[in-house]
């Protein structure tokens, strides 16, 4: 069973294909999002097409599926047609799937379930990465604000931090926000 993966994120496509390979589904075609989409699909002749729900090429793809003589007219995966739960889970995870007619349901389900798990894992990774980036940016701002306060007000580090903290509590803002304001104003005001 040949599976084509079309994804605007090449990282996510790699994560999905790795998962499919581990599950013994090694007949894969990774479609290069920078290349000619329809020509690549025509050459791959897949029986299952996995595509991210928000992929900007979906209307083009569906037209191609309806018109294509090269492919055996894949149609959209659908709740009433296949396993309701796994299809709904797929859409919630952001996966849409097209399947050639006549392919047995029980052969599709593991593919879809795996794609869903990989999509979710990718989303978790992205969230964690974003959180880590934010935390790092916050810490840098606080360190720079402390240095400014120490220099300008002649404070030691614990006193500079205490000042930031008490100001944040009084104004009901995050310490990092106060720190950013200090860094910005220092950059604007210079040595005034």
């Amino acid at each position: 069973m040949r599976i084509a993966i079309i994804d605007t994120s090449t990282t996510r496509a790699a994560i999905i294909s790795e998962g499919l390979r581990e599950a013994g589904l090694g007949d894969l075609a990774l479609i290069d999002p920078a290349g000619p989409l329809l020509a690549q699909l025509e050459a791959a002749r897949p029986e299952v097409v996995l595509v991210n729900l928000e992929n900007p090429s979906r209307d083009v793809l569906e037209d191609f599926f309806a018109m294509s003589r090269a492919l055996a007219r894949p149609i959209a995966m659908f709740v009433d047609q296949s396993d309701a739960e796994s299809t709904a889970a797929a859409v919630d995870a952001g996966v849409s799937a097209y399947i050639v007619d006549g392919l047995a349901k029980q052969r599709i389900k593991p593919v879809l379930d795996l794609a869903v798990r990989r999509f979710q894992a990718f989303a978790r990774l992205q969230n964690e990465l974003a959180e880590a980036k934010n935390a790092l940016a916050d810490r840098q701002a606080v360190d720079r604000a402390k240095a400014i306060l120490m220099k300008r007000r002649g404070l030691d580090e614990p006193a500079a931090y205490a000042l930031l903290r008490s100001h944040a509590m009084q104004s009901n803002r995050r310490i990092a926000e106060i720190a950013e304001a200090i860094v910005t104003s220092d950059a604007l005001m210079g040595d005034l």
Binding site: L53, E54, N55, P56, S57, R58, D59, V60, L61, E62, D63, F65, A66, I75, A76, F78, V79, D80, Q81, T87, A88, V91, D92, S96
Partner: protein, 400 residues
């Protein structure tokens, strides 16, 4: 709360304004707008319950109900979000080849010149290629109706491919297509970038062509009828506001925001005031009836509009006419729900649910159970009229 899916297009105006101007809140319903980039995603979110309603191209609501290219899911259309508002934009090279003048082209004269170019290009093995926004779109059917009537056979003399609205101007710029048929602001964006010229507006092909609709799943209609009625009243009030004097600039400012159309406010303002700039350095031209959001009971879902779309679906999908399918297609449009929701409001309610399409030459009074209804010309450019009860005869006439 209604989550409403939409694409960044000027004709998503009514749900956006119903939300932003407080008409929905005044009717006691909440609206949350969900923006996507393709109709496939808008449709899937509706079918799988990510959204409760959608701004949708009318033929796609019918195709989904009939199960074209996918298992069928019945949808309801209780409200039309607008008529026309689309244009045919040619690449600057093709515009030159067909000798576009300063004004809007005449569909027949332009058709003859385009036919000569199309024939030459097909003979050279590089057929002209036009982009439409979706296989099941009014754009596709309007473009094909015009081309076929001027002797250019789509799929034989000319290629028609799909380009989603936000990418249509790019496709034109990249030379992937020679022309596009798309809604605003995407024609104007192509013109302002200097990559295309507007040749025709679709109102020239069919003066009262049905365009976007509000579509809901039938189970939503059954379970939340009262809430849907309140939503329709909010949309009606938004439509009246949209057409009221002195609201255009406000509406353009809202629609142009990044979370909606993400387009320049001046471009959106031109579209909603029926002013169209045909070429990059030209003055905007006033085109009456370019886009039609409210007057003449424009939001009323006439069953005959759905029947015309079905006739074109059989024509271009190459499937035989089926009386059962025709009935199901007409049944997608729900004038009964529109009437029930808007009884007692300021909305004009037509007495009939179906009419001859393309049979009115000049302003004509027609029966209404509420308000007074005068319909303006609704002609097709070739003068043919469509009788929803005689689809096979109509199709035979078109083929000949």
């Amino acid at each position: 709360m209604f989550r409403i899916g939409f694409l960044p297009l000027v004709d998503a105006a009514l749900p956006i304004l119903a939300h932003e101007q407080g008409f929905a809140a005044a009717e006691g319903v909440g609206i949350e707008l969900v923006r996507d980039m393709t109709w496939a995603t808008v449709r899937d979110r509706l079918l799988y319950g990510h959204t409760d309603a959608a701004h949708l191209i009318a033929p796609l609501a019918i195709a989904t109900t009939l199960g074209r290219g996918r298992p069928a899911v019945p949808l309801s259309v209780p409200f039309v979000l607008g008529l026309n508002g689309n244009a045919v934009t040619l690449s600057t090279a093709l515009a030159q080849a067909v000798e576009l003048g300063d004004g809007l082209a005449d569909p027949v004269a332009l058709g003859a010149r385009l036919r000569a170019v199309a024939t030459a290009r097909a003979a050279a093995g590089t057929p002209l290629r036009f982009g439409v926004v979706h296989r099941y779109s009014s754009h596709n059917y309007m473009l094909r109706y015009w081309l076929a009537a001027v002797g250019i056979q789509p799929d034989r003399d000319i290629e028609i491919v799909v380009t989603s609205p936000p990418f249509a101007a790019d496709a034109l710029a990249a030379g992937e297509v020679d022309g596009i048929c798309v809604g605003e602001p995407w024609n104007s964006i192509a013109v302002d970038r200097g990559v295309g010229r507007i040749a025709l507006v679709t109102a020239q092909i069919w003066r009262r062509g049905v365009e976007k609709v509000l579509a809901l799943r039938n189970d939503t209609m059954a379970e939340r009828g009262d809430e849907v009625a309140a939503l329709l009243r909010a949309l009606h009030r938004a439509a009246a506001h949209f057409l009221a004097p002195d609201t255009a600039e406000d509406s353009a400012a809202i629609l142009s925001r990044p979370e909606y159309c993400a387009a320049p406010a001046a471009t959106v303002l031109r579209a909603i005031t029926d002013r169209v700039r045909l070429a990059q350095d030209a003055e905007a031209l006033h085109i009456p009836d370019f886009m039609f959001q409210y007057r003449e009971a424009a939001n009323f879902p006439w069953r005959s509009q759905a029947a015309w779309l079905y006739s074109q679906m059989t024509r271009w999908d190459g499937t035989p006419f089926s009386p059962e399918e025709a009935k199901a297609a007409e049944g997608v449009f729900r004038p009964d729900l529109y009437r029930a929701a808007l009884a007692g409001s300021s909305a004009t309610l037509p007495g009939a649910s179906s009419k001859m399409e393309g049979s009115i030459d000049s302003a004509t009074g027609v029966g209404a159970t509420q308000g007074r209804l005068i319909l303006g010309s609704d002609r097709f450019f070739d003068g043919r009229a469509f009788d929803p009860d005689k689809i096979p005869a109509y199709l035979n006439g078109l083929a000949g």
